[in-house]
Amino acid sequence: MSDRAFGFRTRALHAGTPPDPETGARALPLHLSTAFVFDSTEHAAELFALRTYGNIYTRIGNPTVAAFEEKLASLEGGIGGLATASGLSAQLIAILTVAEAGDHLVASANLYGGTITQFSVTLRRMGIETTFVPGGDVEAIRAAIRPNTRAVFTETIGNPNGGVADIAAIAEVAHAAGVPLIVDNTFATPYLCRPIEHGADVVIHSATKFIGGHGTVLGGAIVESGRFPWGAGRHPLLSTPSPGYHGMNFAETFGEYAFLMRARAELLRDVGAAISPMNAWLLVQGLETLALRMPAHVANAQKVAEFLRSRDEVAWVSYAGLPDSEERERAARYLPLGAGAVFTFGLRGGRDAGRAFIEALQLWSHLANVGDAKSLVIHPASTTHQQLSDEELVAAGIGADTVRLSVGLEDADDLLWDLERGLAAAAKVAAVRA
């Protein structure tokens, strides 16, 4: 073995997926088995006590799922990973690993609507309170941190408004208070941004999006840096004896692996949001080609954004890859290979023009997802973000005229041809209204 630092594409193909030691199979075997036999009663006891490594039951771990976890952790530059049924369950498990009733979180207000609802409704009902900070303002984050704050949360690229988080500055503010930074890196993927390299401690993914890449399977993941001092006293769930695991002190027992071990042994076990090995297998296929697909997504997104920017029917385009974007500087620092392929724009003529635009499209699929190989379109105010109050919508940077695109891998000319038709329909409505 050598200590060569292998490149991203090499790791995408090889990390976590060596040839199968049992059979020599070169492709990752799909272990569709709920449970695994023990070698002996002593082996079973050692496994249940977490004193040895191995497979017990697929809700807690599975060799195919573990391959996906290790590959993604390698690509993000983390110490390890944990896969879950969806991005939202990954997020829930990450937060419940560090916070309980009576604790507090600080989050950017520019988040996926489902995340805002999970924090402001479900977590609040469980006794975990969140302070939302508009625009990811670093000083406001510093001011919002309390003695019982257990984590700061942001998205690399905000959904849907496209704001780019100043990860290094937020991490510095969080660390100064002894608090970890959790970053949802779904829109960037580790190909475009690796938040751990900028100081983040925990990375969350909805792997359903670009990692899977084909709009086929749900999955989520947590990757941890291995650098945060979980045993320093700020996180008693990790540094005091746990009644959920016969008095185990995770920080003392597992050192740098404490967060991931507690996330798996207690939270994944008790929440039950396990990913299917089938889904993990497909997500491994997705990761293998991530470095080929993302540049193509980004190139098409850039063309689409520039096209829309040039059109009179369009009031504004919020894509960090545009030269006049307010996010340009942060995008250059955190997303040097491209600002992703999901962004929003506003149509002149408001809600009615937006409806006419979407209904006139032929190639762009009208649905609530992003990160498919196919191009997707949606009107957030009436769909993904409809649970939000008007104030929350404004705070999240979403207007009634906002249309969100997820730019796929079709021929760019065909995508522009279709948008042209949508814009013509929108213009007719706008003209009638005027």
Partner: protein
Amino acid sequence: MILETAAERRELMDRSRTVAMVGASPNPTRPSYFVFSYLRTRGKFEVTPINPATAEIDGVKSYPSLAAYAAENGPPDIVDVFRKADDAPQVAREAIAAGAKAIWFQYGVINDEAIRLADEAGLAVVVDRCIKVESARFDGGLSLSGMNTGVLTARRRVR
């Protein structure tokens, strides 16, 4: 020599057979018991507790000191240290006196004086790492927990 890389730690483990575990506890919730139990049941090392407060752990005789261990068994390949960081220099002196070839300071056992003493005496030194984790990094165990082992190979692991 301070071993900084996973490859160096692997070489150390590959060339070592005996591990004397200073501060090994018979209490099944203690980290040292986890490591003792793991190494013993894997059969990779001959692991011996060094703890004056216990006569044996899981049937394996415990010695009151490294000197007592070495008098009966000869120098250990690795002295694995589960003690407070402040106690580490004393353990390092005893390891050197016992003729140990390497000293391994577990998670959190970080003491500059102890590291310097062992390094200057020519021992291989590992700091703030777990011998159980490093062992599992290369036998597939760590991978089964979704951890990033850093191991990339198109060769089939020998079982």
